[in-house]
């Protein structure tokens, strides 16, 4: 039976965590993630889950405790934001390097300085090379769905990697929306039993986690890790297919919105895709051939799917909610530009950095992007490859 709820995004995530009923959650509060673990800790206190909830003194310790608990063979979850994710930095690559199937929710928030609590993607984009799978959610429903799927993806035999699920700070985390949940049994059957690969607590098969590997084996271990995240693409697709059967909700690796005949395309992650969709609806009524692509995955990056989807497009605008200082553009733009390299006929491409520190992105902003693309197509060239959308002059 489908249950409908009207709650904030953090509650949607906490509800998914309750249904997953992880063995261990180790977390430290940080805005805007706090409400997730706060709500979840209430479930622990009320006996609604069997989770061992570990309160720690920092996010560095939170992730360290998660790694230890995962090495012990338990099902582990945590949540963080911004500076918290930054403080985990050292242990993020330990988690992925040791192949620990941890599920973490990162509520996107700008990095300091200046200190700011609102949404941008600088935190998770800064962690894009940490070896974690990264899944971005447009709304509370997708956050709920992605968290449940993340557990299956992380623990699958072919993958065994940590997964980070993103949702936009405040916009989604503290915005009230309608979402649907599955039954507890459905979730538990879907994620299945946790089958640890090398449990530290299995005394019949002793194992050492985390030994030194120098120039003789480190490279082979990293080569294996590169293979695992590459192969995770097909697992993620299969998990999505099975989840769709259960929930009726389709979540492809890249969501295509009016793309079939689109000549002008916007590519954007997370909640801004929702704003852009309403502009697409509006401009389509005026007969403009506009479309939108929302990648759900950033790691592994869906470069093949994007190149395929963009091969007949005239002009593309990539919207980045973070800055890669000193780079040729934002992280999403750089990846997409690279994905297009093999195409014989490449679309014109432009990058917009937008929404830093929670700066609102309006319908008018999105309209201006499509009208820029129209001009680019008319003149046949991109004058400024990178623009800052919504910043004061």
């Amino acid at each position: 039976m489908v249950k409908k709820h009207v709650e904030v995004g953090t509650t949607a995530v906490a509800m998914a965590m309750r249904q997953i009923n992880p063995d261990v959650v180790a977390a430290y509060p940080i805005t805007p993630q706090t409400a997730i673990v706060q709500t979840f800790s209430q479930y622990v206190a009320d006996g609604k889950v069997n989770t061992e909830f570990i309160t720690v003194e920092s996010e560095h310790s939170a992730m360290s405790a998660c790694v230890g608990a995962a090495a012990a063979g338990t099902r582990v979850m945590t949540a963080t934001s911004s500076a918290g994710l930054a403080l985990m930095w050292e242990i993020l690559s330990v988690a992925s390097g040791l192949r620990m199937p941890i599920t973490m929710i990162n509520v996107n928030r700008a990095l300091s300085a200046p200190i700011n609590i609102h949404c941008d993607h600088s935190d998770s984009m800064g962690a894009r090379d940490s070896g974690w799978i990264q899944i971005y959610s447009e709304n509370s429903q997708e956050a709920y769905d992605n968290v449940i799927q993340a557990v299956r993806i992380a623990e699958s035999e072919e993958v065994r990697l940590p997964v980070m699920v993103m949702l936009d700070g405040f916009i989604i985390s503290h915005g009230i929306e309608e979402f649907k949940t599955l039954e507890d049994d459905e979730v538990r059957n879907f994620i299945g039993e946790n089958k640890p690969k090398y449990s530290l607590l299995d005394i019949r098969e002793p194992v050492t986690h985390g030994p030194l590997q120098l120039f003789d084996y480190y490279f082979e271990t990293k080569r294996q890790q590169a293979d695992a995240i590459y192969k995770s693409r097909s697992v993620i697709e299969e998990v999505s297919r099975q989840y769709e059967k259960l929930s009726g909700r389709s979540q492809p690796i890249i969501e295509k919105y009016f793309t079939d005949d689109a000549e002008l395309m916007i590519i954007v992650l997370s909640s801004t895709a929702g704003t852009a969709k309403s502009v697409v609806n509006e401009l389509r009524k005026d007969g403009l051939k506009v479309g939108l692509i929302k990648p759900r995955l950033f790691r592994p990056f869906p470069y093949f799917e994007l190149a395929e989807a963009l091969k007949n497009v005239k002009a593309v605008a990539v919207l980045d909610r973070s800055c890669s200082f000193g780079a040729q553009g934002g992280p999403l733009y750089i990846e997409i530009r690279s994905a297009l390299y093999e195409l014989v006929q490449k679309p014109l491409i432009k990058n917009y950095i937008y929404g830093l520190g929670g700066r609102d992105i309006s319908l008018e902003n999105i309209r201006s992007v499509y009208s820029d693309l129209e001009k680019i197509v008319k003149t046949g060239r991109v004058e400024k490859p990178v623009s800052y959308l919504g910043v004061r002059k």
Binding site: L98, Y198, V207, T208, H209, T221
Partner: protein, 108 residues
């Protein structure tokens, strides 16, 4: 003992070690740039080298030193330094290898 290193598809994930006590298979001797040479005639078997060796590279039998285990010896030189009879001399590993190659060429 020659270590054959495995390819990336053959090793367990995450660098885990599945075999207890497998450090004994680790050829730390290939880190060595200086090789200790033991002079059996000068040796009084005081075994200070055995006590001081930070690895397990002094081979013994019935409370007497019988040689140096070059599979483990990293060439730190503590044994040569501590020896009261100068029965252990450090020579550059490259020279030791050159000498070995000449011997094997002659006998081959």
């Amino acid at each position: 003992m020659k270590n054959v290193k495995k390819g990336w598809k053959e090793i367990p994930i995450g660098g885990v070690i599945l075999e207890a006590g497998n450090a004994s298979n680790y050829n730390t001797g290939d880190w060595r740039s200086q090789r200790p040479i033991w002079d059996e005639e000068k040796c009084i078997h005081c075994l200070l080298c055995y006590v001081y060796c930070p690895d397990a590279s002094i081979d013994m039998e019935e409370e007497k030193m019988i040689g140096i285990n070059y599979f483990y010896c990293k060439g730190c030189g503590i044994c040569a330094d501590i020896c009261p009879k100068d029965a252990i001399e450090l020579i550059p590993e490259t020279k030791a290898i050159e000498a070995e190659t000449k011997i094997s060429e002659r006998s081959g």
